[in-house]
């Protein structure tokens, strides 16, 4: 009897295994991937084929990490969100980053930042940023000091593996900073953060399609511009002018694609306004005054950290008002 039951169980689990598709595609995640596709192509054009190689390696690693958890533990398919994580993570890396460091980051981000919290839809912190913060602090030299100049003329990166014109500074650290290159993206920086115009178009697409909440973006940009203008007008050392600050570094990528991740963003509209503004202001604060050149990543993680409590207070106030 016991053996028969066991065999039956084994049959059942085999059947479940057959039924699970390799990837469960969700519409909002697909839209984010569409919005990011032009950015990926641009990153190849600007920095060479190595960025595509990096993207593939990171995506495979992210998929396998989630696969191990969901198949052995939850008996569920891998969701397409893991590819959004992999794309955003890769696009936030510098072009020269060693591949093993990227692997450490993405595995940490998916395993600790997402699967430890119970998997898709339950993570408190953005997994891509958790992974990036981990390697940013652990391997600072690789992540912050060796940048390359992008290719400037047509076939550009499409016929090269990696640009070999190294430079020590990104526009944020006081390199070249005129507005037009910052807007179109041929400046040094992380793979996907340089072209403000493509990020903006992609961001508008996902906002219109409701894959991202416009409230977060709007209040984030306003908060950032307002605070940056104050510091710039006051003549604080290191403070860029607001337009350059908004289009340089990872701010566009962060506020449009990472802060709006519906899982780690707040659930109430009031909290979304506060959350966006908090990220904008913290970004400026960290960029200008801390030892780090880039503050978007930390700002979003700090925003993620205070989301649940913001939601909690707003819901509590609402029930009190309704009670009266």
């Amino acid at each position: 009897m016991a053996q028969a039951a066991q065999a039956e169980q084994a049959d059942e689990s085999a059947e479940i295994k057959k039924k699970i598709p390799a990837v469960k595609w969700q519409v909002p995640n697909k839209r984010v991937l569409y919005a990011l596709a032009p950015v990926v192509v641009t990153s190849i054009y600007l920095f060479g084929w190595r960025s595509l190689l990096l993207l593939i390696v990171v995506s495979v690693a992210a998929y396998l990490t989630e696969f191990v958890f969901v198949r052995s533990y939850y008996k569920e398919p891998v969701t397409s969100a893991v590819f959004v994580t992999a794309f955003l993570f890769t696009l936030s890396l510098p072009p020269t980053v060693p591949i093993w460091i990227a692997l450490v980051g993405i595995v940490f981000g998916v395993a600790i930042g997402k699967m430890a919290f119970g998997g898709f839809g339950r993570n408190v912190f953005n997994p891509a940023l958790t992974g990036r913060a981990f390697i940013y602090i652990s391997f600072g030299a690789y992540m912050t000091s060796s940048w390359v100049e992008p290719f400037k003329s047509f076939p550009g990166g499409f016929i090269n593996f990696l640009s070999d014109a190294t430079t020590k500074a990104t526009p944020l650290a006081g390199g070249a900073a005129s507005h037009l290159p910052l807007f179109f993206g041929n400046v040094s920086g992380s793979l996907g953060e340089t072209s403000a115009v493509l990020l903006l178009l992609g961001g508008i697409y996902i906002m219109v399609k409701k894959a991202a909440n416009y409230r977060i973006v709007l209040s984030g940009v306003i908060g950032m511009l307002a605070f940056q203008t104050v510091l710039w007008a006051a003549g604080v050392r290191n403070a860029l002018d607001p337009l350059a600050a908004a289009t340089s570094g990872g701010f566009m990528l962060g506020i449009l694609f990472m802060a709006t991740d519906p899982v780690s963003a707040p659930g109430t509209n009031k909290a979304r306004w506060i959350y966006g503004a908090l990220i904008g202001v913290l970004t400026v604060l960290i960029r200008t005054f801390s030892i780090w050149k880039e503050g978007v990543m930390f700002a979003i993680l700090l925003g993620n950290m205070f989301n649940p409590i913001l939601d909690y207070y707003i819901k509590q106030r609402k029930t009190k008002e309704d009670g009266k």
Binding site: I112, G113, A116, G118, F125, M297, I309, L310, Y312
Partner: protein, 197 residues
Amino acid sequence: MSNGITFYAIFFAAIFTNNILLTNYLGMCSFLAVSREVKTSQGLGMAVAIVMAATSVLNWLAYRYILVPLDLVYLRFIVFIVIIAAFVQLIEMIIERVSDSLYASLGIFLPLITVNCAILGVCLFMVIREYTLLQAFFYGLGSGIGWALAIIAMAGIRQKMAKARVPKGLAGAGITLIIAGIMALAFMGFSGMIQIT
């Protein structure tokens, strides 16, 4: 003796750049144990902030005017702990007499605080860094507020996660420590803004 750092710089640094919980990992035990619900962690956070501010002043006075003149500095650990415990007991008795509602929201947490290492830690840092009385007060107050901020944020996260299916081996303290680690990672962003050591 004064090291020239303004008291408001110390105040903000104690909350953000040198958060006693997220950069020194002090006061971990009550942070892990009492962060399940927002309400209780609010009470505990407030109690810790008040006690930290008060005991850092008391201990500063005791150190400066009793221990140093009598050449008994090596007794500071015992003296500080005794002063903290006595102060907490006194406050608890007073609150119990004065207000029942305040006792219900604050008083029940006071015995927990007596052994909170963050409070002793604040008193020892203040001695090592040779703060003046005003600096010590704002350092204590800022550290307390920073500690409260961290535990309230943690309680919000844990309350939201109450229904999440965390892997069995990680449930409870395990996932809480992971969250605390990522919180500390995020707080690294503030580093270098204000130097107080």
